[in-house]
């Protein structure tokens, strides 16, 4: 027999877990709808629209076939991959030295650097002054216009610095006693101990660059250079997908299925790596938050 207290505890647990189940359904339902829309065969679509549920053997992959056979889609994917990889590499190359300098307590001028950087974090002059700079540098229709201006994030630098701060001073001092200079200390001591934070910040940057769609719209006029999110936006907001994807009345899939499939294909890399990196992200956010 359960006592009243345990019974009320059981009721409370049922309530709380029920709430969480509802939250899960609310998160899953929209994604499920996109999945179903992308797999709806054209015959079903013209007859009854998108069914709420279909068994896997009723699914049609025609929309995916059509997109993956599309040169414009493949080129946009390639552009996105190039932007994400080169942008992440450049960002890390610029962020690591800054975080290392800021975590070197004895560095003359450290406070000046902190002030210079913090100010850019607190005050933004707005879109047009940045736009004028990039156009004056002649970077239109150049992928550098996408990866250079946002290369270093103050937030990511602070998170990385907080991690570097946690590496015991004694280890570094011991290496210096053995005649190592700052460069060797960074390369041989600090970086090997910092793999988790390099992964975290690297993923932060990679996600940012993979998702970026505004600066490509701003600076890339050449359709051949556009990354995936811009193509996706064009496919989604055009009245007819045929402007961007080969598509006609004899097509094997509905335009809604093509839209849904391109949403899912753009999400796919994120969905694949997400479960593995999620833990790092959470930690990174907390490091940034508990910093004094």
């Amino acid at each position: 027999m359960l006592g009243t207290k345990q019974r009320s505890d059981l009721g409370f647990q049922l309530f709380v877990n029920g709430l969480l189940v509802i939250v899960l359904i609310l998160i899953a339902l929209p994604l499920w709808r996109v999945l179903m829309t992308s797999f709806t065969p054209i015959a079903t679509f013209t007859k009854e629209g998108v069914p709420f549920f279909m068994w896997p053997w009723e699914w049609s992959v025609a929309a995916y076939n059509q997109l993956l056979g599309q040169p414009s889609f493949l080129r946009a994917t390639l552009n996105s991959v190039v932007i994400a990889i080169s942008g992440t590499a450049l960002s890390l190359l610029l962020t690591v030295p800054l975080a290392y300098a800021l975590s070197t307590r004895t560095l003359p001028g450290r406070n000046l650097i902190t002030t210079l950087i913090l100010f850019t974090f607190l005050f933004h002059p707005g879109l047009v002054p940045n736009y004028l700079l990039v156009t004056k540098l002649g970077l239109q229709d150049n992928l550098l216009a996408i990866i250079l201006p946002p290369a270093v994030s103050v937030y990511n630098t602070i998170v990385m610095k907080a991690f570097f701060d946690g590496i015991p001073e004694e280890i570094k001092e011991a290496a210096r006693m053995d005649g190592a200079n700052d460069l060797q200390v960074l390369w041989k001591i600090v970086l090997p101990l910092s793999v988790p934070i390099l992964l975290t910040i690297g993923m932060f940057y990679a996600v940012y660059f993979w998702n970026e769609f505004f600066t490509p719209i701003l600076y890339l006029n050449d359709a051949k250079l556009q990354p995936l999110p811009v193509l996706l936006r064009n496919i989604l907001s055009s009245a007819s997908v045929s402007e961007y994807v080969e598509y006609d009345a004899y097509s094997a899939s509905s335009s809604d299925s093509i839209r849904a499939a391109s949403v899912l294909l753009t999400m796919l890399p994120m969905l694949v790596v997400y479960p593995w990196i999620q833990r790092y992200f959470t930690k990174g956010t907390l490091v940034g938050a508990v910093k004094e």
Partner: protein
Amino acid sequence: MWKHRWIYLLVTPTLLYYLIFKYIPLYNAQLAFKDFKPLLGVEGSPWVGFRFFETFFNSFYFSQLITNTLFFSGARLVLGMPVAIMLALALYETRAMFFRQFVQTATYLPHFLSWVIMFGILLMLLSPGSGLINDVIKSLGGTPIAFLTSPDWFRWVVIGSDIWKETGWSTILYLAALLSISPELYEAAAVDGASRLQRIWHISLPGILNVVVLVTLLRLGNILEGGFNQLFVLYSLPVYSVGDIIDTWVYRQGILEFQFSLATAVGLFKGVIGLVLILVSNNIAKRLAGRGLY
């Protein structure tokens, strides 16, 4: 300084990056007080004082843009935050640990989706032709609603989609604060016969009050951020009256209409207000919560 020459050498490219990509735009911001002539450049264009600021303050758009911007940032705070706190409490209270982990993983995911992807998801839910919600409305005998282009509905689509996307992620801070509350407090309360809800009310909520105050102040400091990436993708001509925020207007005026000086003035206005707000917020946070935001 010689001792640290390698660090200086290493950090020089980053500092150059800051000078070029952060401080030259700052210099370019003088355009707000000049009448920009492309042929004369930023330096050569004639000074006009506060003319463009006056143009903006007196324009028909001013109150509409401020209202819309404040509406979105305010609604995110007032509606989004309680939802996130409730989810954090539910995650904290459940004793099914594996299930908690699973819900966390699932609810963090949307945070990593870009607004273009979100736009696609919203179309699949809301489009009058084949959207899920309109399918439900039709099957109940109603007429489909064009949510994304209806001025009555657009705002709620913006707020709702933002809550769907960000609630899970914003529980991280609250959950961390809840987990740092000493279990002894709960045990002592249980001995005293406090019910579950009493424990939440008297221990959990006061325990996360500091974090709530900090987050609120940070959001207040960013109150002029209406959510550019979201609105840039979601809005369209029919909903400009309820969806146009300062940043989207600056984009259209500056980049599409070539009103460089006017757009710079508005951007600078927003930047200065933002700076003042964040400094004040930080000051209050230091006094109330004992620590600042940075």
